[in-house]
């Protein structure tokens, strides 16, 4: 706990205040008088968010690079599943696959779990001690390359290096 406390920097507080202020501004259509409630609400939100989500060392440039990658892949994911739903023969060949993650536990892993569910043909169905269970819609496709690409991007966002795990092929 003391370790986490020590890492809270002004940068974290200021950036979260900025984010929550922006959300408040959006929600209230920029009504000036609403800030009487907005300022306490923003400060409270910053406090709660720091207690619940400890500051993570985001690499902002990588996060920005991830956005177009994610949008494009999730669009492809939608088109892919829509095509299979409309197709008379329902061309699917589902399977369950085990993917040992090399990302550090915590936020990076949660980020990956959620991303995987929105990408083409993959749905995360379980996470147990860094081992991700993925349901794939079409096991004939190269979903492993997709998972690895996502893992690499997430690692770059969090500035984490992927540990080389043994017995991995």
């Amino acid at each position: 706990m003391t370790l986490t406390r020590a890492k809270i920097s002004w940068r974290t507080i200021v950036s979260r205040m900025g984010l929550f202020s922006l959300i408040w501004w959006v929600l209230t259509n920029g009504a000036g008088s609403s800030w009487w409630i907005g300022v306490p609400a923003v400060l409270l939100a910053v406090a709660v968010s720091i207690a619940l989500v400890p500051p993570a060392p985001w690499v902002w440039s990588e996060l920005l690079r991830f956005v177009p990658f994610f949008l494009l892949r999730s669009l492809i994911g939608g088109v892919d599943v829509a095509w299979r739903a409309f197709h008379p023969g329902v061309p699917i060949a589902p399977d369950l696959c085990i993917y040992p993650m090399r990302l550090p536990p915590g936020l990076p892993q949660v980020f990956m779990v959620n991303t995987v569910s929105l990408l083409p043909g993959t749905l995360s169905v379980g996470l147990d001690q860094s081992v991700l269970k993925v349901h794939v819609l079409d096991s004939r496709k190269d979903f492993l390359a997709e998972l690895e690409a996502v893992e690499q991007s997430v690692a770059r966002i969090f500035g984490a290096s992927l540990e080389v795990s043994e017995g991995r092929e």
Partner: protein, 99 residues
């Protein structure tokens, strides 16, 4: 109609097609896992397109922000809930359909 209206119409119709696909997948796919695929991914793209169609018509930047916020929150909720439903199904021993 002005050009931006045509763009809105195109985006909204495309979005509706994805929602239709999501629902069709829900009805046609064989088990809970494959149905979740259809719901999360198709509806996420469908909502994204509908949000874009409405952003074109938005009257203020705050309205644009609100629409994008809705999409991001639905995205997060959709991905988390899909994961939880799938995990629950697996823990209860619901077998997955295989061809």
């Amino acid at each position: 109609m002005i050009p931006s209206d045509y763009l809105s119409v195109a985006l909204l119709i495309a979005g509706a097609i994805f929602f239709l696909a999501g629902t069709l997948g829900l009805l046609r796919f064989p088990d809970v896992y494959t149905r979740l695929h259809a719901l999360t991914k198709a509806d996420n793209v469908g909502l994204g397109l509908i949000v874009m169609g409405l952003v074109v018509q938005a009257e203020s930047w705050a309205a644009v922000g609100k629409l994008l916020l809705i999409w991001v929150l639905v995205l997060l909720a959709g991905a988390s809930v899909a994961h939880l439903v799938a995990r629950g199904a697996l823990q209860r021993g619901i077998r997955l359909w295989k061809r």
